[in-house]
């Protein structure tokens, strides 16, 4: 393990060693190490890289990826619609995980599967799947690709709010909308080069309201089974003029649901409009049989999550 002083030193180290991995809170990476799902040559600790600030700039809030979910859940800078980030952070596992887990780790979480995120011994009972370097999917036998599910909490909320991320390597830097960070593919869910790190997230100040809903079996322990987030702006007569809807934990990555936003725009969020948005979300959700509960139920609940999130968003807009 090395502890570079400063971001650039960390990026250089990441670039120099192809088998290295960046370590932030470790709440996911250390579990992967214990399960022998990854065997990095070096861990590059980001502790001393100065990535833990939350500051106001450029008409919004810029959050370093080293900020813990604990601090995010309590941040006074996240006001108005951006408040759903506090809510989303507070719903990730429970306090003792939030205190170490970081914003960057949550965004960069690998896709998960009940048949992959298991101990080496557990997995040894059958051939390696696509995600473990093999040539089979145990969730969809005969399938040609990995169906692991991206279950992280914050991306959908950030996408609905129109947030951007700064991604850096030792040689370059780019800013992309959060939705462009994801490929939708379980095998490699992040659209990042191996030598790149997510450095910060920028959340613009909002005019409207937002909502965030997450379903899971056991609060405090389980990963999400369906997530819906919605952002809504209304004119003085209560008609929705702008909307953005995202769902996650029901496929290989978070997705923007354009049809749900279209159903909301021009409406006063009447039950029919919310139902139409829910149907659009359910149609977009592609859950597989790789976590708790049935895919059919999770597909339906993605719609319910969007309906509830949009309703809350409308109440606050």
């Amino acid at each position: 393990m090395i502890k570079p002083k400063g971001l650039f030193a960390a990026l250089v180290a990441l670039d120099a060693e192809p088998e290295s991995r960046a370590l932030a809170g470790g709440t996911d990476l250390v579990v992967q190490l214990k399960h022998r799902l990854t065997a990095p040559s070096t861990l590059i600790s980001l502790l001393a890289c100065g990535l833990s600030s939350i500051r106001r700039e450029g008409g919004g809030v810029t959050i370093g990826v080293g900020v813990t979910l604990w601090d995010l859940a309590r941040s006074p800078e996240l006001t108005g619609a951006n408040d759903i980030i506090r809510k989303a952070a507070s719903l990730v596992a429970s306090g003792p995980i939030q205190s170490r887990a970081t914003l960057g780790g949550n965004l960069g979480l690998d896709a998960r599967c009940n048949l992959y995120n298991q101990s080496e011994f557990w997995r040894s009972g059958r051939p390696a799947c696509f995600k473990a370097g093999g040539a089979v999917c145990h969730v969809a036998p005969g399938g040609v690709k990995c169906h692991a599910c991206h279950m992280s909490d914050l991306p959908a909320a950030l996408i609905a709010l129109g947030a951007t991320v700064k991604v850096a390597s030792a040689l370059s830097e780019r800013v992309v909308p959060v939705e462009n960070l994801y490929t939708g593919e379980g095998l490699k869910p992040l659209a990042l080069e191996r030598n790149e790190l997510i450095v910060s997230v920028h959340l613009p100040d909002q005019q409207g309201g937002a909502g965030f809903e997450k379903f899971r079996v056991r609060k405090g322990l389980d990963f999400a089974l369906a997530i819906g987030a919605a952002y809504v702006e209304k004119d003085s007569s209560g008609v929705v003029t702008k909307a953005k809807v995202a769902i996650s934990a029901v496929g290989g990555g978070p997705v923007v649901v354009e049809d749900a936003a279209k159903a909301l725009i021009g409406s006063k969020l009447e039950p029919e409009a919310l139902e139409k948005a829910a149907q659009a979300a359910s149609a977009t959700a592609k859950p597989m049989k790789n976590s708790d509960l049935t895919p059919a139920y999770r597909k339906k609940m993605a719609g319910v999550a969007v309906k509830r999130a949009a309703s809350v968003a409308g109440g606050e807009a």
Binding site: V30, P96, R100
Partner: protein
């Protein structure tokens, strides 16, 4: 994989510095239990799920089984063994009011989850001295008690909040 070179670091555990020589991959839980002998923190699931390994780091609860020891050398670690010493009015052999509340409310059955429960509750009470039942349940939602004595544990935390309040029986 060859064993990587050991690293020397100083961990501040229970208000005292401890010099340790450990492998970089050692978790805080391994160092606490096997090097320093603080066996209060337990290994349950070993992957951050059950909460029996919970200790406080700078006042916040963390899962010591998935925290690398090398990542927590700058800060204060508190285990259950050090809790009673934090209590200023304590006489020799006495427990912290939070521990007393667990004992007297029967919040302890087999005791395996208790250190994690009590320390998580301490972090809650330090931030919120008069939590509602819902807030207590929320704060403890990541701590598993396989004896399923949750109701008594929640009673114990509520009672501890009363004992610790100004004018409460512990002052």
């Amino acid at each position: 994989m060859e064993n990587p070179a050991k690293i020397q670091l100083t961990l501040n555990v229970n208000s005292r510095p401890w010099d340790v020589l450990i492998e970089p991959r050692a978790t805080l839980l391994e160092v606490l239990r096997e090097v320093l002998g603080f066996t209060g923190a337990k290994e349950g699931c070993g992957v951050g799920g059950c909460g029996t390994c919970t200790v406080l780091f700078n006042g916040r609860p963390i899962r010591s089984c998935i925290t690398l020891a090398a990542e927590v050398d700058k800060g204060e670690i508190l285990t259950i063994e050090g809790l009673a010493d934090l209590w200023p009015n304590r006489k020799e052999g006495e427990l912290h009011p939070l521990q007393e509340a667990f004992v007297e409310n029967h919040g302890i059955q087999c005791g395996f989850c208790s250190p994690g429960m009590i320390l998580t509750a301490k972090a809650l009470l330090d931030e919120n001295s008069a939590p509602s039942e819902g807030e207590i349940r929320d704060a403890l939602s990541g701590q598993v008690c396989r004896c399923t004595g949750y109701a008594k544990i929640i009673d114990a935390v509520a009672d501890a909040a009363n004992r610790l309040a100004p004018g409460g029986e512990s002052k």
